[in-house]
């Protein structure tokens, strides 16, 4: 089995209006990985994704799936789209059915699967995205976050080998954004390769195994989150901020509050665990501060620190 499930090899593409959207993109997606593609609006992320499932055809270069070059006859395209599913950014333009159940069954039905299999897949996809309760609701009455989940279930039900999601957390509040990212972690645990595009560096840093940075239609950098976000020059060129977490870590280390030889933490919890507690002189200890813990129940920070 090839190491890379999807490859873009010097892919070129221009839109009819003359915009050179992709200018020789070289990108290889490791099988089974959690990949984030970072870049601002107009960097070419969405255009590249549309090449990955054959909606767009490269003007130059090649796209390979599972080691084989993509062909553009009807049959090969259908095969590719069965294996590579895209969740688009705006759920409103991809939900069209009267009910959530019908909506999710659209893909599997088009694949020509038997009814029983379609039903099984829809149920599973609804369970995975935690929307079973919405089964009979009309799609246009759902909240934005629910619509997002339905649009992910849409693709899950086709059981693709790769799932691509364009800006999954755009316009979600932090809480729901985190839930969606958890969902993609679970999907990835099931063996599916997951590719997300985002301009949220914090999210990319804590979620991804591997990161590509795109700009003006090319890949200008790639690597593990630690590599990418410690490369100041690359971030500067890409016009990206450092993740808040890395920034805070660097500042604290710089202030001498963290040992210099520890690896970068991947989550805030990890970071705060690294910071040693210091008793304020003259007081019996730090003042209690109310923080929300992971589950969302209010708890006294001092207490929960002691519990740990």
């Amino acid at each position: 089995m090839p190491e890379f499930i999807l490859e873009a090899d010097t892919v070129e593409f221009s839109y009819p209006d003359g915009t050179r959207a992709l200018q020789g993109v070289f990108m290889r997606i490791p099988r089974g990985a959690k990949v984030a593609v970072l870049g601002s609006n107009g960097a070419g992320k969405t255009t590249l994704f549309l090449h990955f499932n054959g909606i767009l055809r490269p003007a130059g270069g090649r796209v390979r799936f599972d080691g084989r070059e993509v062909r553009y006859d009807h049959r090969s395209l259908m095969q590719l789209r069965k294996n590579v599913g895209i969740v688009f950014q705006d759920p409103d333009s991809q939900l069209f059915s009267a009910s959530v159940f019908q909506e999710i069954s659209f893909g599997p039905l088009n694949l020509g699967l038997p009814r029983e299999e379609v039903r099984r897949r829809v149920e599973e996809a609804m369970q995975a995205t935690e929307i079973t309760g919405l089964k009979d609701k009309p799609t246009h009455l759902l909240s934005y976050g629910q619509k997002k989940r339905v649009s992910i279930a849409d693709i899950l039900a086709m059981e693709p080998a790769v799932i691509i999601c364009d800006e999954p957390t755009a316009w979600l509040d932090p809480k729901h954004a985190e839930q969606v990212m958890e969902l993609f972690k679970r999907i990835n645990n099931g063996g599916t390769t997951v590719i997300l595009s985002t301009h949220d560096v914090d999210m990319a840093y804590s979620w991804a195994d591997y990161i590509f940075i795109m700009m003006h239609g090319t890949v200008i950098g790639e690597g593990t989150p630690e590599e990418v976000f410690q490369d100041g020059e690359l971030l500067f060129r890409a016009d990206l901020a450092r993740p808040r977490l890395v920034e805070t870590w660097a500042q604290l280390r710089n202030k001498g509050l963290l040992p210099a030889d520890l690896p970068l933490p991947r989550s805030w919890t990890e970071l705060f665990e690294l910071v040693p507690t210091r008793r304020a002189p003259g007081t019996g200890g730090p003042a209690p501060v109310y923080v929300l813990d992971r589950e969302g129940t209010p708890a006294c920070a001092a207490c929960s620190a002691r519990r740990r």
Binding site: D17, N53, K82, F88, S93, F96, F106, G107, N110, D154
Partner: protein
């Protein structure tokens, strides 16, 4: 989204007063259509093509592609006019066949008419392209407003023009989303997907119209979509040029078209 529209905003003739461009295109088109010989339409085709390629700076490849667009209608239409079918005694055919008492073929007159029709159509099409490739729709609509076309018609035109692009984009997004879920895998799924797409698009258009109404109301909309026009001074030299070219074409049409000639040599 539409190449013609984009060229209209970027062509080198964009700064020219839209009234001058409209007048040039329409007067020239009328001369072309009124002409009864191929000479004037051919001159129109040449002048307009020259203006589009060299004055407006439209790439010739694109213009050529545009010229082939009406060809299928033109060829079929012209052939239909040229061919005569008769069951009676065959007319004086230039070329043709008789099969089982039905004669199909060309007559000299029909062939002549077909050739004239062919060049006249192409000439008129070049006038249309001159207008649409150099004059943004926003300015055409402004002109109509100034010509006292009913306000309702103009307002609807400007709303429709604005929202064509919005709805087109939505439709394209939906189409792409459906295609990536095998929506167009077979003829049957294609019909269902397309029906679903159109029905959704209609629903979205309805909701958008309500949102638009609310937004306009909050800007004190009182029933009229009034907007401020930026006045533009016409250029005297352009008007002279247009008059000269059209005068030349009119004389050419009259002189070769039998009008004048016929009266002198009956």
């Amino acid at each position: 989204m539409f190449a013609i529209d984009q060229y209209a905003y970027t062509s080198r003739l964009r700064p020219v007063h839209p009234g001058e461009k409209l007048a040039f295109a329409l007067v020239t088109m009328v001369i072309c259509l009124a002409s009864v010989s191929p000479a004037a339409p051919l001159a129109v085709l040449l002048i307009m093509t020259g203006a589009v390629l060299f004055r407006a700076g439209i790439p010739w490849r694109f213009y050529l592609k545009l010229m082939t667009l009406p060809l299928s209608f033109l060829i079929i239409g012209v052939l239909t006019v040229a061919v005569s079918i008769s069951t009676g005694p065959p007319p004086p055919l230039l070329s043709g066949r008789t099969l089982g008492g039905i004669t199909i073929g060309f007559t000299a007159a029909s062939l002549q008419l077909a050739v004239l029709l062919f060049v006249k159509s192409l000439g008129a099409v070049s006038c249309l392209y001159f207008l649409s490739l150099t004059t943004p729709m926003v300015e055409v609509i402004s002109l109509l407003r100034r010509f006292k076309v009913p306000a309702l018609f103009v307002e609807l035109m400007s709303l429709i023009y604005r929202f064509i692009f919005v709805i087109m984009e939505t439709a394209e997004k939906m189409y792409v989303a459906q295609s990536s879920r095998w929506g167009y895998a077979s003829i049957k799924t294609a019909y269902i997907s397309l029906g679903q797409l159109v029905a959704n698009l209609f629903g979205k258009s309805y909701h958008r119209s309500q949102a638009l109404f609310t937004a306009l109301q909050s800007r004190c909309y009182n029933g009229d979509l009034r907007v401020l026009e930026t006045p533009r001074a016409p250029s005297r030299s352009n008007i002279m040029l247009i008059a000269a070219v059209d005068l030349f074409l009119a004389v050419l049409a009259l002189y070769t078209g039998g009008g004048l000639i016929a009266r002198i040599h009956p």
